[in-house]
Assembly symmetry: C2
Homo-oligomer: 443 residues x 2
């Protein structure tokens, strides 16, 4: 096929697969009528998608039956897995689905990434990915890809974390590192491993060089452990998960963790910016006379509304910085905080109101600039939504430009801690829907 025709073919494979993914099972004739593709083309595309294990015929099944045009088609992909892993200051979360969205893994483990060197955290990540990959393989599911979520600025083309202030990571080549480890352990392909460089695609069971936008490792993905690894910002991935869950095309997602990140969905698309660094809400200057932030600057929004700031307000002696405190799971720490509230501990309600007011002030800037329909509060913000939202909403309406704020509401995310790992797995699913040729034809 000429290059242009191959592109058209790939786009049409994606069109048919997405159509069935979004609209549900239907016949070849219906797919043809609804997409505008002609019937012969649809028949050929469907045959290829079946050969790649992505579609199945529904209705009565006969052994050895050959595809009949009248039978409804449905997305299959039950043997194709998508893995998302999120590393945060105090936990690592893992989430996996098959292509149809069936949840295969959903767990979170406490991990003190804040007081570890980057290599220790990466080793832990690698071990968790290997476990998950083995677990999926035992289920007959082969990984189509892995996305790692990190709370920092990520060069997505290279899988490089440029800076993650709260992890104290600077220029950490996550994708390359994870791949190199895998290569060393399997004792093969190591000689072919180039150092972290733009345009390299890392895979969990070895390394394949090629442009990141068209991972050549993907073709082998269902035949072995060589799933391409990509890296993205945690808040961006959580925003995608929230968009998938709610369908609201203009939303801002805020991660309430030790740090505060933002993911922006605008017109149904993730706002990436020129380098994938958009949405760095935590380090927007809100108080020139305020406190010093983990990033070294003064008066960042995160120093007003981050979990560390809240804990410092309530009990300065429990402030972050000691490994002992960090090692505890965020849910556990919040349960304790709820107990303090219930006990009428002095200062707790005022500390929450103060965080709520600063949430509203910062949100006014976000609303003026992005005009979202909702601001979704994730992480600890969601757990304390009842106390934070009324104050934040009032402050937003007091400060924001009329019109913009009138129809914007704070809402609490239902996705809990680990929303980013869910979004990370979703990214892998979307990648396959966009290019079904990433999944190899079955032997």
């Amino acid at each position: 096929m000429p290059a242009d025709q191959a592109l058209v073919r790939r786009a049409n494979l994606s069109l048919v697969l997405r159509h069935l993914h979004e609209r549900g099972p239907r016949s070849r004739a219906a797919v043809a009528a609804e997409t505008g593709l002609n019937k012969t083309t649809v028949t050929s595309l469907v045959a290829e998608l079946q050969a790649r294990g992505l579609l199945k015929e529904t209705g009565p099944q006969h052994e050895g039956a050959i595809g009949r045009p009248g039978l409804p088609l449905a997305l299959d992909g039950s043997a194709v897995g998508a893995l998302g892993v999120e590393v945060n200051v105090d936990y690592i979360a893992v989430f996996a689905t098959d292509l149809g969205g069936r949840v295969l893994i959903d767990r979170r483990v406490s991990f003190d990434a804040m007081s570890c060197p980057a290599e220790r955290t990466l080793a832990e990540l690698e071990s968790i990915i290997r476990q998950a990959s083995d677990g999926l393989q035992a289920l007959g599911v082969h990984l189509a890809g892995i996305t790692v979520a990190v709370p920092g600025l990520v060069d997505t083309a290279c899988g490089l974390v440029v800076v993650a202030p709260n992890l104290d990571w600077h220029n950490v080549p996550v994708a390359a590192w994870l791949s190199r480890r895998a290569g060393q352990e399997s004792g093969e392909l190591l000689a072919q491993v180039p150092p972290a460089a733009p345009g390299m695609v890392a895979t969990a069971g070895g390394l394949v060089a090629g442009p990141a936008s068209a991972p050549v490792g993907g073709l082998g993905a269902v035949d072995g452990p060589q799933a391409p690894i990509t890296v993205d910002n945690d808040a961006n991935l959580a925003a995608l998960a929230e968009y998938t869950a709610t369908g609201v095309p203009d939303l801002v997602y805020l991660t309430g963790e030790v740090g505060v990140g933002g993911g922006i969905i605008a017109g149904g698309r993730l706002l990436g910016g020129a380098d994938g660094f958009a949405g760095e809400v935590g380090h927007v200057l809100v108080d020139p006379g305020g406190e010093r932030c983990g990033c070294g600057r003064i008066g960042c929004w995160e120093t007003k509304v981050g979990l560390a700031a809240l804990i410092r307000k309530i009990s300065p002696e429990q402030a972050y910085g000691t490994p002992h405190q960090v090692l505890r799971d965020p849910e556990e720490r919040l349960a304790e905080l709820q107990l303090l509230r219930a006990a009428g501990e002095p200062g707790v309600e005022e500390a929450l109101a103060e965080v709520g007011r600063w949430l509203g002030r910062g949100a006014a800037t976000l609303v003026n600039l992005f005009n979202p329909r909702v601001i979704v509060l994730g992480g600890y913000f969601a757990q304390l939504a009842e106390a934070l939202i009324p104050v934040a909403q009032e402050e937003l309406e007091r400060i924001g430009v009329a019109g913009s704020v009138a129809r914007c509401r704070f809402v609490a995310s239902d996705l809990g801690f680990g929303a980013a790992s869910r979004g990370a797995a979703g990214v892998v699913v979307q990648r396959v829907l966009a290019d079904p040729t990433l999944i190899a034809v079955r032997p």
Copy 2:
């Protein structure tokens, strides 16, 4: 045709027209190969686009010649006009092109919209649009549409200016008003004019009800003065003009006028937000202890970097607020300021440096949130770029998050005052490229 097929047909007409618009003249065979459409379809689409006067065959012409497949095709549209009109605090700008981008009108008139009631300004706008429309008609060009640029929050679906603080406009139904005027003067169609309501499409020579996204008035546009009128924010339109001129897909455009607006291009698309209100940079809070803004709040960015703020710093007695000062053209006022600079007038350089520093501070927030490759300075910022940019760039790099700012540069726009009118005409061209059936088949 079934509805789905009509949609596919329209999309394919657009595909062919855009292809020729972007890649230049080529044969039907080349169009077929490059778009993936089959040759029979391309022949039929081309015939329809020719009947609508949007394509022509190039090469040797014979009287009465019938289209021959081998002849190269090119965009025509020389009889289809796009009109953009910008109302600002102290001027009205008009810009018109044909579909191929040939500039037909480009002028700006001083007008004191700041001290006029809205109706007076709208009457002036209407008169200017009528003149332009008549002028184009005399050239044999029929208007496909009119877009009005306004410095404020615009409900684009209704053509309603929700608020334009520096014009003191609140809920001004610009599209409906302009159409009603046109209806009254021509003495017809007035009975059919509904009050401003969602989903209404206003046309300069009458009113046609229908959804704004598919203006039914458009079909008659080349047969008379009934060009659909849409309204949008001035900075958004200027950003589109800048994107068209430079091709940079991630940029922030700042209008340096009495007020300061922002238009955001993200991933090659204008960022609208849920209501089209995104990019309200002028009223982002930057100094809680600062001055009161025209919008009523304290410490908006515009109070630090707007033209009024600069003039107030240099010569408080010349501050805005007196009609005499406002009536002068911004270029004239800036020429005077340059003379003051050249004469070494005390305070001028320091005032410019102060504005430059605040430009950098506000820009740090924009860079953290949007991660643009460039920040384009329009209006008066462009005229004084030499003095403002070095200071602003230094401040941006001092404050912004590492990584994000490393590759973002301030640049001065080449488009001058009136960039928004250029973008406004561009929007009309894009609308026709997206849906060529807006242009009627020639009788």
